[in-house]
């Protein structure tokens, strides 16, 4: 059986990450996992989770779903002040603030690799929750973690607090499943978002603070999360995982990333379509 190829990125601009994923999604077969984080290598590899509560964080980007309307989702005045790039994904789902407290994990696969998982939204969510992420997290959850990981409605939660968002694209038997894990929640960047009109019932009237929880509260370190990802992927997909070197666009001149992008475009060939784009908003006054 073909391996799962894990492409590890760090500080790669979101728009390039998503276009890479979009090309791999349009490839006729193969399974890839693309991960990306923002911030220093030391922060990502640190044995202990670094916190940044209270301080203003650098927001790398805001990601919207394929049909997202910035005027309905984002605070115009704050966006005008902070000039945060907005990226429209090729997947569905909601709006995500990406900063160093975000761990991105994207799965790109299809019926050839997982014939038992039908390419429908809830089934993909249920499979990823039960077969990948719950086994990944269970062995490293801190003893004080009173609530277990699971799928609540359409969100990944610890108990009834959301710890990750997800979004998908599906085309025939192929699919992409994005997960954005919250590592350490900070209320400050969340001010960029309006409270969405459409909210899950289990959220009720809870504020962001009461509704969201970061994994840093229950995991020993980010390193522990990344170390558990490989065996969890191997178990979930029933095959070995081939891991690429960490690709950091800012330090390798972009050559490694460019090679990955070229390979992905070649695989997609005539099926390549690019829906991922930057959104120019708010308009100039």
């Amino acid at each position: 059986m073909a391996p799962v190829r894990w492409i590890r990125l760090r500080n790669v601009p979101l728009v390039r990450q998503l276009r890479l994923e979009e090309a791999l999604f349009r490839a006729p077969s193969g399974t890839w996992v693309v991960t990306n984080t923002f911030g220093s290598a030391g922060y990502d590899d640190a044995g202990e989770g670094e916190r940044a509560d209270g301080a203003e964080r650098h927001v790398h980007a805001i990601a919207m779903g394929i049909s997202g309307k910035p005027e309905l989702l984002l605070d115009e005045a704050l966006m005008r002040e902070r000039r945060v790039p907005i990226v429209r994904r090729f997947t569905g789902g909601g709006t995500v603030v990406l900063d160093r407290g975000t761990l991105l994990v994207s799965l790109i696969s299809g019926a050839d690799a997982l014939p038992a998982v039908r390419p429908f939204p809830h089934e993909l969510m249920a499979w990823t929750a039960a077969e990948l992420y719950a086994p990944l997290l269970a062995p490293i959850l801190a003893p004080h973690a009173r609530e277990s990981f699971g799928l609540v409605e359409q969100d990944y939660c610890l108990g009834t607090r959301k710890c990750a968002g997800n979004a998908q694209a599906i085309s025939g038997g192929r699919w992409v499943h994005h997960t954005s894990f919250l590592w350490d929640y900070s209320s400050e960047p969340m001010a960029l978002l309006k409270v969405p009109a459409r909210r899950p019932a289990y959220r009720g009237e809870r504020s962001h603070e009461d509704f969201l929880v970061g994994l840093s509260t229950v995991l020993p370190s980010r390193r522990a999360f990344w170390e558990r990802l490989e065996p969890a992927l191997a178990s979930a997909f029933g095959t070995r995982v081939e891991q690429s070197a960490v690709c950091v666009s800012a330090t390798d001149g972009g050559r490694a990333l460019a090679a990955l992008e070229e390979d992905a475009r070649t695989r997609a060939a005539e099926h390549l379509r690019v829906k991922t784009c930057l959104v120019d908003w708010p308009p100039a006054i």
């Binding site: 779903g65 394929i66 569905g92 789902g93 039908r118 939204p121 969510m125 599906i170 459409r198």
Partner: protein
């Protein structure tokens, strides 16, 4: 599949259409289904296409629909649009080759119509069929029902 969904499918698939009196013949609307859960209702060479009740239920609440350009000539299996449910953007394929004559603009403002009435009000496009023989490979209602039952088991 629910009893209501089966009834809707049967009603649509078996509906006959009679032309005005100037025409002596009457044309039966033939509805067939693809393994990607699209339907084609062929009315004298003009197909009404969309996604089935099974697909609409599996996708969940549809919040956005992207439709093809009128006048586009597309081959079978080419992407003709996207439906977005709460978390997922799903491609919709051309179930049959042809030219897009009309799209259902109502879906832009009311995408949930696909959930409520996929085979009636929730149609996505009308197509001038260029290769009617492609319908021969598609499933009848009975075969499609069995296909869905097998997928669900």
């Amino acid at each position: 599949m629910s009893i209501i969904a089966r009834a809707t499918l049967r009603a649509t698939a078996s509906r006959a259409f009679s032309r005005p009196a100037a025409f002596s013949r009457s044309f039966a609307v033939v509805t067939k289904f693809t393994t990607d859960h699209e339907y084609v209702s062929n009315n004298d060479g003009i197909a009404t296409v969309g996604i089935t009740k099974f697909a609409a239920e599996a996708l969940g609440d549809i919040v956005f629909v992207e439709l093809p350009e009128v006048g586009a000539k597309l081959d079978q299996k080419e992407s003709m649009g996207v439906v977005e449910s709460v978390k997922a953007a799903s491609d919709v394929y051309m179930p049959i080759s042809g030219e897009i004559l009309e799209v259902n603009d109502m879906l832009k403002d009311s995408p949930a119509t696909i959930n409520e009435s996929p085979l009636e009000k929730g149609w996505m496009a009308k197509i001038k069929i260029s290769n009617p023989a492609e319908m021969d490979e598609m499933m009848t209602l009975e075969a499609y029902e069995k296909f869905c039952a097998d997928e669900s088991s």
